[in-house]
């Protein structure tokens, strides 16, 4: 049986054809920056065309960046999608209609990625897993007793919006001191630009110019030991350590998987530092919890979305 999984990201729409837990083909297009949900639906349908269309496809899963109501296929809010200001968009029904009624399921992208890592990546064999996705923002997905936990209102796992510093840096969501404000790339970029505006230049802004401060730029600035890059990444590691420790203490987790664009780029050293920072705060000294890098790279979101579709039909 064959499924299509779509990872709807802030910069690209990435799709895979999955058979069981194997990826048979992939395709991507740029995420439209204007045109709202209608343009996004068109792009998703385009990627599905690039993948060979829907012949023989049993259903489609979409991982979306934002708050999702899985049952109705509704994207409640997607603040990280440019041009998507609408709330409560029935993305699943819209894509299904464009595909002639094929079943379409929508899942939070971090949940989808965590599910893929659990079934096929770094989380195989573990029962209680937190996936932490460090990219533009910080997403999270939670597996308890081997099952994805969405919670009654669908918000479970949002580790990026747990507090790591009371009255701390303002988060993209408007609250204060959330993990995402310290470890999300968008917030770190804002901070790097503010440092430059108030003080000496830093390599991050020098390399990025007016463009996006990519994970590559972060990695290069770290390698060059730029003081601002070092300090902001230290802050990110420390914030991630607190959030991971709190999740382990509250939930007695086996495994924490760190993925996402920035984490993938910074690699195992970054993840090892997060594990070290978490260990210093975890209450249960003998906790068996491990912190490991994600194994599936860019593919996890789309594969996870396909797995969601397969589990939902």
């Amino acid at each position: 049986v064959t499924w299509i999984g779509i990872d709807l990201g802030g910069t690209k729409v990435y799709g895979v054809v999955a058979q069981g837990e194997k990826v048979k083909a992939d395709a991507k297009r740029k995420t439209p920056l204007e045109g709202g949900p209608a343009a996004v639906v068109e792009t998703i349908v385009g990627v599905i065309g690039d993948l060979g269309g829907t012949d023989g496809i049993k259903g489609v899963g979409i991982g979306a960046p934002g708050a999702v109501e899985h049952e109705g296929g509704v994207v409640r809010q997607a603040p990280n999608l440019a041009g998507w200001q609408e709330n409560n968009v029935p993305l699943g029904p819209l894509v299904s209609k464009a595909l002639g009624g094929l079943p379409v399921f929508v899942e939070n992208d971090a949940n989808a990625g965590t599910l893929a890592e659990h079934k096929r990546g770094a989380g195989r064999g573990a029962s209680n897993v937190l996936g932490v996705w460090v990219g533009t923002g910080v997403g999270g997905g939670l597996i308890l007793d081997g099952q994805l936990r969405r919670g009654p209102t669908g918000y479970a796992g949002e580790i990026g919006h747990t507090v790591v510093a009371r009255d701390g840096r303002v988060c993209g969501c408007g609250r204060k001191g959330h993990l995402e404000a310290y470890a999300g790339r968008a917030s770190m970029e804002r901070e790097a630009r503010a440092r430059e505006a108030e003080g000496p230049p830093n390599m991050l802004v020098e390399l990025a110019g007016d463009g996006r401060m990519t994970s590559k730029i972060w990695a290069e600035s770290l390698d060059a030991r730029d003081p601002v890059a070092l300090e902001l990444i230290d802050n990110a590691v420390s914030a991630l350590g607190v959030a991971v420790a709190d999740a382990v203490t509250l939930l007695d987790l086996d495994l924490i998987i760190i993925g996402g664009g920035l984490a993938d780029r910074l690699g195992p050293t970054f993840v090892g530092r997060i594990e070290q920072a978490a260990r210093e705060q975890i209450f249960a000294h003998g906790s068996p919890a491990r912190v490991v890098p994600a194994a599936l790279g860019d593919e996890s979101g789309a594969l996870g979305a396909a797995l969601v579709a397969a589990a939902s039909v």
Copy 2:
């Protein structure tokens, strides 16, 4: 069918006879301050005698303050019991032997209290509940999908040892910035005494003298608007707000129950302030999570221990 539940606390051993979810009789003795586990076992057996002995009793549950391995009835550590330095004490088997082989079950006291509130108190009808027990320390218990969640190593729910202030006040457990360091009565007492040693006198130390700074003393000092009492309780409220918000954000909880000696004494105003502080930090603006006072008072731990026994046989 009739069960006995024992709440083993730092100051008293409180026992109840429970039929279903109803308490038929109760009794208490002082917790021995020396003599270690053997003296505690003797006191527990004494309380059971005061309750009328074991005729017609199907089993005994014990709620113990500390880390518990439920399956083996083992208390791994109980730092808040004076004279109990031993690790890995098989309390269940020891009490069972003293009672001629009657089944005896041991549970973390905060888990037991949360279970009782869920079955018979403030948590009836809710499915996803966190119990927060604010007393000498800060304990926690977690109900997910209507079931007590112990976690694979038995440490789940330890909200008192989640971080609310990075590199903050040192906790009784030795880590830094944990909730218990701001909201546990023992830690707040240390802080109040340190303030007096370094600065002007405060009413808390004046009332407590060399004795224990009880919840009653905290309530009186607050009523008199003692500045140190006001500030330390403000800090406790703020720390509880952060920890509650983080648990709601991570787990999409319905209900948070605030109980324990200090919370019971300070009453609904204290709990309302915690709810307000939490709301300011919760990511999901429309979260239906409510924060409410515990309903069963002192009885919850012992009743919950009886319920644990009833569920285990």
